[in-house]
């Protein structure tokens, strides 16, 4: 590789500024920059002045010359075109999700002092609050299920839904700048933020349920797969509805004020405090329209030997989830198109 490093010769006048007082130095700088023949050269001369002044302020010997990088193309530039390394224009989604995962976790940890502490604290606080409420309302058992693990399962399903919903609603947030990287899309960032909620809640649930088993409050699960499937279902519902809600908020920003209240209402009827079998028929007929209640009852059926939900329907959950997922993806595409029209981030 031959690279020619030449030095600018025409800026000898900056030497006059060495040792000059402030006023004289500024005058020399101005005269130097105004000597440019065009605006391109002016940028270069301004760079000379900046370099010179910086060296002077640092107390070193000001250099009136600075290296120029290229005097012309070097031989290497004339090499023939390389074949494309990978036929795909962007990295595979899984590879990008893995890359984003670490950055997303680190960002959360770094962005404020609560950081990772809050991931664990928030679900814990919810569990404690709901357990206390359940203890007041139901006593030690709820429909033959011990109160603490009952609360843990209900809260984790609900929080998984809520975290995914809010992540999709709020978009890339602190990771928006990463969208300058060609392989990173808004959807990938939203997906990873939602997945983070799923995994954090699953970890917290595991810890709390292991503690419950240790103290003899519950036993090992009857059907762990059913519990995991319920969490994934809640995650998919949250993501789908969050994407839909995000597009709605694009059209009418006032909806952002309504969503928190809707979430609270939904929380009340999502089985945090009860199962449908223990409430009067006219209420269960109403609350069973909510697929999240089905999911939380699936999770409890999967964990407790003493409870097998009679009201839940896998078919109903899938019938709701399919259209919700299609609608969410359609809204994500529509949102991308609208952003293109508005000239915003993709």
């Amino acid at each position: 590789v031959s690279v020619v490093v030449v030095r600018r010769e025409r800026n000898a006048s900056l030497d006059d500024a060495i040792g000059a007082d402030d006023a004289k130095r500024i005058a020399i700088y101005s005269a130097y920059v105004l000597g440019a023949r065009d605006s391109t050269e002016r940028v270069a001369l301004e760079g000379d002045v900046a370099q010179f002044e910086l060296a002077r302020r640092r107390g070193g010997k000001p250099q009136s010359t600075r290296p120029m990088l290229w005097s012309g193309p070097s031989d290497i530039l004339n090499m023939p075109a390389l074949a494309v390394g990978d036929s795909r224009p962007t990295a595979p989604l899984l590879q990008i999700l893995r890359a984003l995962w670490t950055v997303s976790l680190r960002t959360d940890v770094n962005v404020d002092r609560l950081g990772a502490f809050w991931w664990v604290t928030e679900p814990l606080a919810h569990v404690v609050l709901i357990t206390i409420t359940i203890l007041f309302v139901h006593g030690a058992d709820v429909y033959d299920m011990p109160s603490f693990p009952f609360a843990v399962l209900g809260v984790v399903v609900w929080l998984t839904f809520r975290t995914a919903f809010i992540a999709a609603l709020s978009g890339p947030a602190a990771l928006t700048l990463l969208m300058d990287h060609p392989s990173v899309t808004r959807f990938a960032i939203v997906l990873i933020r939602s997945l983070k909620g799923l995994s954090v809640n699953a970890v917290v649930a595991t810890i709390l349920l292991v503690v419950s088993i240790y103290f003899g409050w519950t036993t090992l699960p009857q059907d762990l797969l059913k519990v995991q499937a319920s969490l994934v279902g809640a995650f998919l519902f949250g993501l789908s509805l969050g994407l839909t809600a995000q597009l709605g908020a694009q059209h009418y920003s006032g909806l952002r004020k309504v969503y928190p209240m809707l979430l609270r209402l939904l929380a009340v009827i999502s089985g945090l405090f009860f199962v449908s079998e223990q409430v009067p028929g006219f209420i269960s007929n109403f609350v069973l329209w909510n697929p999240l209640l089905h999911l939380s009852q699936f999770a409890r059926s999967g964990w407790f030997f003493t409870y097998e939900s009679q009201d839940t329907s896998l078919g109903y959950v899938l019938a709701c989830l399919g259209p919700a997922a299609c609608l969410g993806l359609a809204c994500a595409i529509a949102d991308r198109r609208e952003r293109a029209r508005r000239g915003e981030y993709a």
Partner: protein, 244 residues
């Protein structure tokens, strides 16, 4: 040159014409007006209005989507080297290197060891990037280009920061030609005197149209103002009368 070389294809591409008054592009302004263009592998100096060039780079790196039509990249594209925004995330420089290593498939540990020896401020690797100076982020952005397995290299910004020490500038002088050689390079910068010699052709955006010129068009920073637009520079600027 085989057929399997990097390439950019614009198909009936419309960019601009924002519907929202608060959009980044003013309402009614068209940056690229239904252009069909194939950009074969070469080194291009992007010529045009600064806003137009920026929009095109946004489009190229996928930061924004076309209003209509399609931009197709054949080959993996780099991030816009020279922009410090993509590096202003609340993670350390080392975390960012890891992120790029995962995205572009290179060895992060090897890169980190090498970066410590060439970066003018190695402390940026342990500093949160959103708290690092612009020069520190810029140095990392440039140095990382060495590791990217990118077929399309995009340079957008002023690579020559006056705070860079001479040895880092000389390192760049050696490495930048290597990084873009044999690849499709699109260079957009106001520091034309510094980077223009790397290019072989010009990619011109003007009045909604795009064209490729086989020579480097003499560039002033605002070469081709759109009709009815002011130049946007001070009247005492020598370029002002020259361009008008």
């Amino acid at each position: 040159v085989t057929d399997n070389t990097p390439r950019i294809e614009l198909t009936n591409l419309l960019l601009g014409e924002s519907e929202a008054p608060e959009g980044r592009i003013p309402r009614g302004r068209v940056v690229i007006d239904r252009v069909n263009l194939a950009i074969p592998c070469d080194r291009y100096f992007l010529v045009g209005e600064e806003a137009d060039r920026r929009c095109f780079i946004d489009l190229l790196v996928g930061r924004r989507n076309p209003t209509e039509g399609r931009l197709r990249r054949r080959g993996r594209c780099s991030y816009p080297v020279g922009r410090t925004g993509p590096f202003a995330v609340a993670v350390t420089g080392a975390d960012m290197v890891q992120f790029l290593a995962d995205s572009y498939s290179f060895d992060a540990q090897g890169a980190l060891a090498h970066l410590r020896s060439i970066l003018p401020w190695p402390s940026v690797l342990t500093t949160r990037l959103d708290r690092a100076s612009q020069a520190q982020r810029l140095s990392l952005s440039i140095a990382m280009l060495e590791y990217l397995r990118a077929d399309i290299v995009v340079i957008d910004g002023s690579l020559l920061n006056p705070e860079f020490p001479a040895d880092f500038l000389q390192h760049m002088a050696v490495k930048l030609p290597e990084m873009i050689a044999g690849r499709l390079a699109v260079i957009s910068t106001r520091q034309a005197a510094v980077l223009q010699p790397l290019a072989a052709k010009s990619l011109i955006i003007s009045h909604g149209q795009m064209a490729i010129a086989d020579e480097i068009v003499p560039v002033s920073t605002r070469l081709l103002p759109a009709a009815g637009e002011t130049i946007g520079r001070a009247p005492d600027d020598p370029a002002y009368d020259e361009v008008l």
